[in-house]
Structures are given as structure tokens and as C-alpha cells.
């Protein structure tokens, strides 16, 4: 008999839960900001939590489900208008959702102690109940005197019952006592807790593993064990005793053994208004349409595909590119000019189709930056709260697309930079006031695509990096010589924060830690083939700029020759190429450093033959060629002997042993089957400046 692989489904649940949590967090954060929540939003919220509850129960996360149920119950009251939204609720619910996440973590790792869970749940219930009580009092005041009196009694009764029921933490009493709740809440509790969902609670109590209730029910009651029913064919009911029925109403009266049976036994009048209310909600539900408005568009007409499948596809295209270039190579050897040119023509066509195919597959991998940004409001809120700072978070470029494969590697460094900016960058409220700034600090994240690169900026209007202090610390730690420090530019000094073990924060906090991190940020970004730089202005704030390649898979490159060696230079890095005149070259400093003077701009020249230790064809710069390339924020001019052809290359990572090869970012297989090395323009700068110094 089929049995669910619970671990597999738990993993799937976890992935979906993360998305849902993000949606919930963002809804609540918006509500917290706005101090209000409209009906549609409340409905979305309710349904998100409802989905969490239902799905978690399906993967036997019974405690999580029980807790989700409590939040759902509360939200149900909100959407039914039994509770009015208050500003402070958002904050409470955010905490509640955090608790939920925490419990999920514990339950998944099997570390959730029963007592701890009960305490946590009681605390949450206590907080939630505070709101319920408040509202009741308000409602009571609006009632007519006589009605009020009886309601007070009901309310008191309820408090009492709640105490009995909840303090012993969901004893078996709970469902039985519910009819004492009084008209206000009785109905809901009956419907939601006693019936459809009641078993979650019962399970938690009765049976710690939380599952197998179907079996239990099977033993108890044949009708219950089906867990399904049909809307028609009453005769089946008789035959099989399954509990099918024609009309729900009839069944109500018959008191068939359905899940909702106990509620039927109760006073029908109690339920009537509730049913009306619920019907209204249904209408609202229909209007509201979806519970995941942030992702609604992508959900329709879409499928989820494992990223590895797309990677495999991309790899195949890579092989296709290589095969194509092998074929192109082969045409060079052909003698018959007519055939050669005709073949070339068709190969060009093939080349176009391969490019289109590649672009389509790349398109599949691309997702909007919104997906990345949407993780931050919650992080920022929590951090701001901990630090007691006020922060206004803005993001731009939500629709800019990024390779899905990069997101995973990008989230951690971004989070680190953001936390760091909040902790060390943006000043405390007092300090900001003293500096004549507004109390609220601003944090801006933006994304844009330019020159075939992805540029992400994180900008704060805080105090900026204390360069003197950073430099001092770097000297102390032996990262830097004092003499070196004296010659360093402001930007270079700022870059010191990426050195390992450098933290200048006076108080080490649990937000951004002890200076382990910024170096990790740098290495994580480098792993993605990108660079980070930082610009800072004391008193004004700092800007972190992350530049990433658009794709990790295929690049357009220019073949260049130095002596007898050939290299590949990414086209995206090239700004211009030129044959320099003698008067354009200036010698500076120790006469070993050369710069190219191009339209009033000084660009450092790097002789590739020196870097790679090759015997060049030309020694004089004016005899060879210069390629001006982008190297992070700077420009450099690479000295080469010849430009060759331009073509697509499939990037293959270097083997671990060669990772440290300075100036080489990757390798590729050329058309003739030989290996080509791809120049990393970012690294080559660092390499040669180090040599020069």
C-alpha cells in the first residue's frame, strides 16, 4: 500500500512554507506601517495561514498545525468582523508568525519538547486573548442594558471556561466545554475547533506523534474514517454507511456521524447568524480572488521546474555551442570556396538559433529582483527593533531580472550588508538628531542592468565608515603597513572593511557580529563572479555596490593573442580597443608603471605578457594593441599583440587546484578542442597593482 515519504513532503512543505511566511510577513509589515488592514488583506492573511495549517497537518507536523490553527482562529475573527484590527495587532501577529517559524524549525528537527511547546502556545494564546477580551468589552458597551447584563455573564463564563480549557492546555475537556462559550464565540469554536480542526488539538493531547487519527477514527466510527463524502446519492449512505448524503441540511437533522456532528447537536439558532456571516465571507473570498497577490501572476500558467533540470538544459546548449564552433573551425580548412561560403552561411543561421535557444533558457532562469527584495522588510524591521533605530527601507528595480542560480548565493551577503549598514552605518536616534538629520534613517536597495552586468546597490544615510579607525585597526592587525596606509586613497581604505577580522564597532552586537562577515561577503560575491565595492562619506553614509555577471553559464568573448598564447576576454568587460600612439603613454612613479592618457583620462596599463610570464611579440606599447576594460569601478588597459575572432564561450569552472590562478576566471573548450583560459579583469588589476607595490 502506498505510503507517503514524509521527509520528501516535509521538504516540499518547508519550501512552500518559506514562500508563504514571506507573504504573511510582508502583509503584516505593511499593516504595521499603515496601521490598517483592509478586508482583502485580512482574507489573504487568513488563507495563507490556513494553507500552512492544512499542509503542515498533511506532513504530520501536528504541533505546528495546532499553533497555526490558533493564529488562523484569531484571523478568522478578524475577517468575520468579530475583532476590529488594531495597530498593535500587526506587531503581535508578526511575533506570532515568528513563533510559528520557530516551532516549525524545532518540530522539523525533532527537538520540540512538549512542555516548551505548551508554554509557547499558552503565551501566544494569552496575548491573542487580550485582544479578544478588549473587543468584547467594547461590544458590550454598545449593547442594550438588559442584553448587556446577560452578555457580561456569558463573557465571564467564557473567561472561566477558557481558563479551565486552556491552562490545562487542551485537555480532553476542551471540545466538550465549548458549548458553554456562549453565543458570541460558541459557533466558531464548534465549527473550527471541535469539528474540522478539532482533531489537531486532540491529537496533540491524546497522541503525541499527532498522526494516525484516521486509524483511530476508523476504529471509533466508520463514518469518520472515510475522510471524504459525496454531495449526492443518498442511497450509498444506506448501502455502505459511508456518510454520503443528498443535502447537508438533512444530514444535520439526521445527525449522521460526520465530522461536524457535535455542532449539529447544539442549538441551531446559535449557528444561524454564524452561517450567514460565513456566507458573506464566501462572497468576499470570491471577490478577493487570491491569497498570494505578490505571486499571483507567476502562479497562473506556470510550472515549477527543478533548477538542476534547467542547468542540465543549459549545459546541453553549452555543448551545442562548442559543437558549433568546432564545425566553424572545420570550415576554415575547406579548400572549395563555394562549399565553404555556403556552409558558413548555414552555420551563421545555426548560430542565430543557438543564441535564441540560449536566450530562451536563460529567460527561464531569470526571476525579478522583487523576489530578493521582498525578503528584506522583515529583516529590517526586526533588526531596527532590536537596535531601537528608525529605518525607512526603499527598493528600486523590482522588475530587473536576475539569474535564479545567483539568488541563493546573493541573499546571505545582501543580508549581511544590510544588517551591517543598520548596525554600524545608521546612527542611533539621538546621534542622528545631534547631527541634524531626521530621526529615521534611510536604507535603499536598488538593482539595474547595465553593460551586460547586474548592479545592486545598498545605500544608507548613516554616519559612514570611520576610515581613520578602520585604517588604524588594519595596521594593528598587520593587514597593512603604515607607509602603505599613507598612500591609500579613500576608497581603498574603505575597502579594508572586507579584510578578515576587521571590526571597528565599539560594541560588538548580535546583529552583525564580531567582524566576521564582510570578508565572507566579499568571497561569496566573488564566487558568483562578481565584485563588491564600497564608497563612504563620513557623516553622510555609505554605498555598497555589487556588480555581478548576468549569467553564470555562457559568455561572449574576444580571442586575444599574447606572444604565442591565446586568451579569452569577456566582451562585457571591454570598453574600447585602440592602437596607442607613443605620446599617449606616460611613465609614472618608478618608471615601471605606465599609464594610457585617453581623452584626459589616465588609465593604468597592464602588460599581459608580464602578468602571465610570456615572451611577447611586441615590447613597445605603440607596436601592439591596448584594450580598455572595466575592472570593478576602474578602467585598465591591457596590452596584447593581436585581437582575434569574437565568439560565444561556455564557461567551465577551473579545477580547485587552479582556483588561485591570478587573472584567470575560468576556462572553456575551443572549437578545435583545446582549452582556452578566460581572463578575469577584476583579478588582474589586483594582481598587477600588488606587483607594482
Amino acid at each position: 500500500m502506498a505510503v507517503f515519504d514524509i521527509n520528501k513532503y516535509r521538504q516540499m512543505f518547508l519550501e512552500e512554507a518559506e514562500d508563504i511566511f514571506e507573504i504573511i510577513d510582508n502583509i503584516l509589515l505593511e499593516a504595521e506601517d499603515a496601521g490598517d488592514m483592509d478586508n482583502e488583506t485580512i482574507n489573504s492573511l487568513f488563507r495563507s495561514v490556513h494553507t500552512l495549517k492544512g499542509n503542515s497537518a498533511s506532513v504530520e507536523l501536528s504541533k505546528f498545525a495546532a499553533l497555526a490553527h490558533e493564529l488562523e482562529f484569531f484571523m478568522d475573527k478578524l475577517r468575520n468582523g468579530k475583532l476590529a484590527f488594531e495597530e498593535s495587532m500587526a506587531s503581535l501577529l508578526i511575533d506570532g508568525v515568528d513563533t510559528l517559524k520557530h516551532i516549525l524549525e524545532l518540530e522539523l528537527s525533532d527537538e520540540l519538547e512538549h512542555d516548551y511547546f505548551m508554554t509557547t502556545k499558552e503565551e501566544l494564546l494569552y496575548k491573542l486573548d487580550n485582544f479578544s477580551q478588549d473587543i468584547k468589552e467594547i461590544e458590550l458597551l454598545n449593547e442594550e442594558p438588559s442584553a448587556q447584563e446577560s452578555k457580561v455573564i456569558e463573557a465571564e463564563k467564557e473567561v472561566l471556561v477558557r481558563e479551565i480549557v486552556e491552562v490545562p492546555a487542551f485537555g480532553m475537556l476542551f471540545p466538550r466545554e465549548s458549548n458553554a462559550y456562549g453565543p458570541m464565540n460558541g459557533g466558531i469554536i464548534d465549527l473550527d475547533e471541535d469539528e474540522g480542526f478539532g482533531f489537531f488539538d486532540e491529537l496533540v493531547l491524546v497522541d503525541d506523534d499527532g498522526f494516525g487519527f484516521f486509524d483511530e477514527l476508523e476504529l471509533d466510527d466508520v463514518e469518520f474514517d472515510e475522510g471524504f463524502g459525496f454531495f449526492d446519492e443518498p442511497e450509498l449512505v444506506d448501502d455502505e454507511g459511508f456518510g454520503f448524503f443528498d443535502e447537508p441540511e438533512l444530514v444535520d437533522e439526521d445527525g449522521f456521524g460526520f465530522f461536524d456532528e457535535p455542532s449539529k447537536i447544539e442549538d441551531k439558532k446559535v449557528q444561524a447568524p454564524l452561517r450567514e456571516a460565513k456566507k458573506e465571507i464566501d462572497v468576499k473570498d470570491n471577490e478577493a480572488k487570491d491569497s498570494k497577490k505578490f505571486k499571483a501572476d507567476s502562479a497562473s500558467n506556470s510550472i515549477r521546474v527543478d533548477l538542476s533540470k534547467i542547468d542540465a538544459l543549459m549545459n546541453n546548449i553549452g555543448e551545442l555551442v562548442i559543437a558549433h564552433s568546432m564545425l566553424t573551425q572545420y570550415t576554415f580548412m575547406m579548400q572549395d570556396q563555394k562549399i565553404k561560403s555556403e556552409l558558413s552561411e548555414r552555420l551563421d543561421l545555426l548560430d542565430r538559433y543557438i543564441r535564441e535557444l540560449q536566450e530562451s533558457v536563460m529567460g527561464v532562469r531569470m526571476i525579478p529582483m522583487e523576489t530578493v527584495f521582498s525578503k528584506f522588510p522583515k529583516v529590517i524591521r526586526d533588526t531596527a527593533k532590536k537596535l531601537n533605530k528608525k529605518i525607512d527601507f526603499r527598493h528600486y528595480g523590482d522588475s530587473v531580472e536576475i539569474d535564479k542560480a545567483m539568488i541563493e548565493g546573493l541573499t546571505d551577503p545582501l543580508t549581511h550588508i544590510v544588517r551591517n549598514a543598520m548596525d554600524h552605518g545608521i546612527e542611533s536616534i539621538d546621534r542622528r538628531k545631534k547631527a541634524g538629520k531626521s530621526e529615521t534613517g534611510t536604507l535603499i536597495m536598488s538593482a539595474e542592468q547595465a553593460n551586460g552586468q547586474m548592479i545592486i546597490k545598498i545605500q544608507d544615510d548613516g554616519g559612514g565608515i570611520n576610515l581613520a579607525k578602520v585604517t588604524e585597526k588594519a595596521i594593528q592587525n598587520g593587514i597593512l603597513e603604515e607607509a602603505q596606509a599613507a598612500q591609500m586613497s579613500k576608497d581603498d581604505k574603505a575597502m579594508l572593511i572586507f579584510a578578515p577580522g576587521l571590526s571597528t564597532a565599539e560594541a560588538v552586537t548580535d546583529i552583525s557580529g564580531r567582524g566576521v562577515g564582510m570578508d565572507v561577503v566579499m568571497s561569496n560575491i566573488k564566487k558568483l563572479g562578481g565584485v563588491v565595492k564600497v564608497e563612504t562619506e563620513e557623516g553622510m553614509g555609505s554605498t555598497f555596490t555589487i556588480v555581478l555577471p548576468l549569467t553564470l553559464a555562457i559568455l561572449d568573448g574576444l580571442n586575444i593573442r599574447v606572444g604565442k598564447e591565446q586568451f579569452i576576454l569577456p566582451l562585457s568587460a571591454i570598453i574600447e580597443t585602440l592602437k596607442p600612439e607613443e605620446d599617449m603613454i606616460k611613465q609614472i612613479g618608478d618608471e615601471e608603471s605606465e599609464v594610457l592618457m585617453l581623452r584626459n583620462e589616465f588609465i593604468p596599463v597592464i602588460r599581459l605578457h608580464t602578468t602571465f610570464n610570456i615572451i611577447p611579440q611586441n615590447h613597445k606599447l605603440s607596436d601592439g594593441l591596448l584594450i580598455v576594460v572595466r575592472s570593478g569601478a576602474k578602467k585598465i588597459a591591457l596590452f596584447v599583440d593581436e585581437f582575434m575572432n569574437q565568439q560565444q564561450f561556455v564557461i567551465k569552472p577551473l579545477d580547485k587546484n587552479f582556483r588561485n590562478a591570478q587573472g584567470i576566471g575560468g576556462a572553456t573548450v575551443r572549437g578545435d578542442g583545446t582549452i582556452g583560459l578566460i581572463i578575469d579583469t577584476m583579478n588582474i588589476t589586483q594582481n598587477s597593482t600588488r606587483r607594482a607595490s
Binding site: M1, A2, V3, F4, Y9, M12, E15, E16, R47, H50, T51, G54, N55, A57, S58, V59, E60, L191, D192, E195, G196, F197, F214, D225, E226, G227, F228, G229, F230, F231, D232, E233, L236, F242, F244, E247, P248, D252, F259, D260, Q271, R275, K278, K279, D282, D285, N286, K289, D290, S291, K292, K293, K295, A296, A299, S300, N301, S302, I303, R304
Partner: protein, 122 residues
């Protein structure tokens, strides 16, 4: 071989239902991620049974069922709803839009197969 369509926005639940059906001897299972997707797929292929979630974005299960019942092809096709709630409103609404029955989440494979077996054998 009956063709079955599963409509659920949860990747996990779709997979669970599909797995249970496949294991239970129903290999021909198609998945749809919401009501809109489900409706499009139901128009493209004629299914013998539809199992649909209720709470979904874009078009919920009730809306989907109502739409399906308007089509002559699906006037009599069994449609089971997957639901966490089985209260009166769910039942009234389910009946109103023309659903055949409901399966309660969480479910075990045998339960699902039993319900599916019954509707398909009618």
C-alpha cells in the same frame, strides 16, 4: 484508463495526490496549479475525474467547479474537492457549485483511493 486532473496550488499536495493515485493504479494524472490553469487544461483534454483544492489563487476551487459544470463535457464528470474545512458552508457551497464530494486534508492514500474508486465506478 481514467484520466485524472489534480488542481492545487501547493506543489506538495499535488505531488501527494499524484503519488497516491499513481500507486493506486491511476497513472494518467495531470497537474494544474490553480483554477485558471485547471480550467485551461480541462478544456484541452477530457478528464474522467477532477480533484481540486478549494483555497487557491487566481481562481478558487468553487469558481473552477462552477465553470466546469457550465461545459457540457463536464456536466456529469465527478469532481472531488480537497479541503481542510468540512463545515456546513463548505458543503453547501460545494453542493451549490456542483461538486461530487470532498476529501479531507490531511488524507492517507487509502482514503483518497477509496473515494476515487467509488466515484469512478459509478
Amino acid at each position: 484508463m481514467p484520466k485524472i486532473l489534480i488542481v492545487d496550488d501547493s506543489n506538495m499536495l499535488r505531488d501527494m495526490v499524484k503519488y497516491a493515485l499513481n500507486e493506486g493504479g491511476y497513472p494518467d494524472v495531470t497537474e494544474a496549479v490553480d483554477g485558471v490553469d485547471g480550467l485551461a487544461k480541462a478544456k484541452a483534454t477530457v478528464f474522467d475525474l477532477i480533484v481540486s483544492d478549494i483555497n487557491m489563487p487566481n481562481m478558487n476551487g468553487f469558481e473552477l467547479i462552477a465553470e466546469l459544470r457550465k461545459m457540457p463535457t463536464y456536466a456529469k464528470t465527478p469532481i472531488l474537492t480537497l479541503t481542510t474545512e468540512k463545515n456546513d458552508d463548505m458543503k453547501a457551497k460545494g453542493k451549490e457549485v456542483g461538486a461530487t464530494g470532498w476529501i479531507v486534508k490531511p488524507f492517507v492514500p487509502e482514503q483518497l483511493l477509496k473515494a476515487v474508486g467509488i466515484v469512478l465506478s459509478r
